[in-house]
């Protein structure tokens, strides 16, 4: 049985890699988008199978300790493969229309599909690897595979955004490598030299005997490094540009998935540092970055004119909330943060799907020119409206639950920070509604063109966010509780 599940893990990583190779070979044939969907669906199916194994049998190692799965990374793996599948479904019609509009050509479509799958592979490798060094490598690979997707349209702004993304994330993540070197330095003294000393399962076992001074120094570098990728203020400069200039399917996976993966890496490192220092220092640093991100993003939201830029700032805000909650620690906040990563990812990618349709209907991303969505295309209009209701944390959606949990924990453990948190949430609420309301209501402007919207991805995501908000499935509850135990 163990053999079976470890094979499944390798298949999970193998499928997107093979799909990338096939798509690079197939190129811009008529059925390339279908292969893309099929590849992602196969990844999802394997992910679900593996999740069932882990649910029934608990955490496990595979591939000679090189990979491992536990409650924390398996739920993110399933989420990653699920969102990648729905994004592939959305991208089928969307990119076809972009081609018709002449924004991308033949070669770039080949590149787009191959890189999309490679990106999914890199993210899954990040999640499933047991080696902290390989985690860094995969994270860099995820960045590199998306850099040229951000500049896919070759407009001056797209190239500028991609350059910024490449340079700032490259520099940021280099700091994380230095942090990893320091971590290895401390680990080598306890675990001996070689690959074993970088395995997370070994590190977490001996974290109590790792040198605390070195680990606190390492955490500063890891925080700056992975924090850049999470998009935490003041390291967030690249994020609104990269997320708004690329094709919308890429915005959806960057905002919905890659930020989660970076936060995952940061949290894994925090657990080790906490185990070594026995202080709340790492948590405090994360709380500071998180709170600053919430506030700065909330007030930046108010000033945006570009619709995708605005929702990128909303991603910064939500990553801030999750980082803050992980920093706060304790069972309630950690549970809230885990749930928040899940529901934010689902809601944000649904919003990006509708935003993509809306901007294709109006041939612009400027909010001033997007009008009359309810009448023009009810699915897009209501999808956007309901998505925004979910993302600002209105009941009964899942984000309400997670934010409520995080607020409750804040009031209990750090009451003096509650007003700041509420201020950030309140400003975001007001800003998003003020901007979205005129876009959905009113009459259809003359320049609006109808598009055939992809219904299923939007409906599926929003339905899941709603279901999780109303009734949390038992298996999810068990996973989160196990993950909370792991991260204590």
């Amino acid at each position: 049985m163990a053999m079976n599940s470890s094979t499944m893990l390798l298949v999970l990583l193998g499928v997107p890699l093979c799909a990338a190779a096939i798509l690079a070979f197939v190129g811009d044939r008529k059925f390339a988008p279908e292969i893309n969907i099929l590849g992602s669906a196969a990844t999802l199916a394997t992910g679900l199978g593996l999740a069932l194994e882990v649910y029934l049998q608990g955490p496990m190692l595979a591939g000679g300790k090189f990979f491992f799965v536990d409650a924390f990374n398996i739920y993110l793996s399933v989420l990653t493969s699920f969102v990648s599948m729905t994004t592939a479904m959305f991208s089928r019609g969307y990119m076809r229309r972009e081609r018709e509009h002449g924004r991308v050509g033949k070669i770039r479509m080949r590149f787009y599909h191959a890189m999309f799958q490679l990106f999914i592979f890199a993210m899954l490798l990040c999640l499933l690897t047991n080696n902290v060094g390989v985690l860094w490598i995969a994270m860099e690979l995820a960045t590199l595979s998306t850099v040229l997707l951000v500049s896919l349209y070759r407009t001056p702004t797209a190239i500028e955004a991609a350059w910024k993304y490449f340079i700032l994330c490259g520099v940021g993540i280099a700091q994380a490598l230095f942090g990893t070197v320091l971590l290895y330095f401390a680990a080598e003294k306890v675990l001996g030299e070689g690959g074993e000393a970088l395995l997370w399962t070994n590190l977490s076992r001996v974290s109590g005997s790792l040198e605390p001074t070195v680990l606190s120094l390492a955490f500063v570098f890891l925080m700056v490094g992975y924090g850049t990728k999470v998009g935490l203020v003041p390291l967030h400069n690249w994020l609104p540009d990269a997320h708004s200039e690329g094709p919308t399917p890429i915005s959806a996976v960057l905002s919905g998935l890659l930020l989660n993966i970076a936060l995952y890496a940061l949290v894994r490192c925090k657990v080790l540092v906490d185990g070594s220092t026995h202080t709340h220092q790492a948590g405090n640093i994360m709380m500071g970055f998180g709170l600053l991100s919430i506030l700065v993003a909330a007030f930046s939201l108010l000033r945006q004119k570009d619709i995708k830029r605005m929702f990128s700032y909303s991603s910064i805000e939500h990553m801030g909330i999750a980082t803050f909650a992980f920093g706060l620690g304790g069972p309630i906040a950690t549970f809230g943060a885990l749930l928040h990563m899940l529901v934010h990812s689902l809601a944000k990618s649904a919003i990006f799907f509708t935003v993509g349709h809306a901007s294709q209907m109006h041939r612009t991303q400027e909010m001033e020119r997007i009008r009359g969505l309810f009448k023009g295309n009810p699915l897009v209009g209501w999808g956007l409206m309901i998505g925004v209701m979910a993302i600002v944390g209105m009941p009964p959606f899942g984000i309400f639950t997670s934010e409520f949990l995080i607020l409750t924990a804040t009031m209990k453990d750090a009451p003096y920070l509650t007003p700041f948190l509420l201020l950030g949430l309140g400003v975001t609420f007001a800003a998003l509604f003020r901007k979205v309301q005129p876009m959905v209501s009113g009459d259809i402007p003359s320049y609006q063109r109808p598009v055939k919207a992809a219904h299923l991805p939007v409906l599926l995501h929003l339905a899941l966010v709603l279901i999780i908000g109303i009734y949390m499935p038992a298996f999810l509850n068990t996973w989160f509780h196990t993950a909370v135990e792991l991260l204590k």
């Binding site: 080696n131 060094g133 390989v134 860094w136 490598i137 860099e140 690979l141 590199l144 850099v147 040229l148 500049s151 070759r154 407009t155 001056p156 702004t157 190239i159 500028e160 955004a161 991609a162 350059w163 910024k164 490449f166 340079i167 490259g170 520099v171 280099a174 490598l177 230095f178 990893t180 070197v181 320091l182 290895y184 330095f185 080598e188 003294k189 030299e193 070689g194 690959g195 000393a197 970088l198 040198e211 001074t213 070195v214 120094l217 540009d241 200039e245 930046s300 000033r303 945006q304 004119k305 570009d306 830029r309």
Partner: protein
């Protein structure tokens, strides 16, 4: 080889690495910059081989050869070809004046010594005294990326920063496990291809590789 002599050689090579890092900070000519980068890679590679010999860590030989082929030959060659193809002007400007940049650089070196003091005290490796130099190289690479506004210079700064990281791994721990070293080298190689493509795109779109021109994405007011 006597350990004391090994430590001396190690410190000497570290000094040379730091010297090239400072040289890059003030070098205005693009070709000069690439040569300095290649020299830095050469000193690193030599240092890695010597540490590998003294400490009897054979995987460091692989790292050393990898550094030699990648950082001394391949990357400078790619940069040469790109610059030739793109017909870049020979001079590049610094925005902060040179004495100020040097002063900031010196401050960064002192800061690095201060920051790595706990690591140095805990380590009993031959190479422990060079950890601070490694971090300083990282910081100087960062400083170079901030002060220079040319795409090629920024990339060289980035690669110099990566050199610093590699140096840090060698001096703090006798190198990372081989799988990590290989992975990092692969990432650097992919990054090299990406910036190569980028140079062409930037040059075509902006008619120059001056990054200052890329300032369209500002906060909307």
């Amino acid at each position: 080889m006597n350990l004391h002599i090994a430590a001396q050689i190690n410190s000497f090579l570290a000094a040379l690495v730091l010297l090239t890092a400072f040289g890059m900070l003030v070098q205005k000519r693009v070709y000069g910059l690439i040569h300095l980068f290649a020299w830095q890679g050469f000193f690193l590679s030599l240092n890695t081989a010597i540490v590998g010999f003294v400490a009897d860590r054979h995987h460091l030989y692989i790292s050393s050869v990898l550094t030699l082929s990648l950082k001394v030959f391949l990357l400078p060659y790619i940069l040469h070809v790109l610059i030739h193809r793109l017909k870049i002007r020979k001079e590049v400007e610094t925005i902060v004046n040179i004495p100020t940049t040097m002063m900031i650089g010196i401050a960064l070196v002192i800061f690095s010594y201060h920051l790595t003091a706990p690591v140095r005290e805990l380590s009993n490796l031959v190479t422990r005294s060079t950890i601070a130099v490694a971090l300083a190289t990282v910081m100087l690479g960062l400083l170079m990326m901030i002060t220079r506004k040319h795409a090629v210079t920024q990339i060289i700064g980035f690669l110099a920063l990566e050199n610093g990281l590699f140096f840090a791994a060698t001096s703090a721990t006798y190198g990372m496990p081989l799988v990590v070293e290989l992975g990092v080298a692969l990432d650097v190689l992919i990054a090299a291809f990406i910036f190569g493509i980028f140079f062409f795109h930037i040059n075509r779109t902006f008619d120059s590789l001056d990054v200052e021109q890329m300032a369209r994405l500002k906060e909307g007011d």
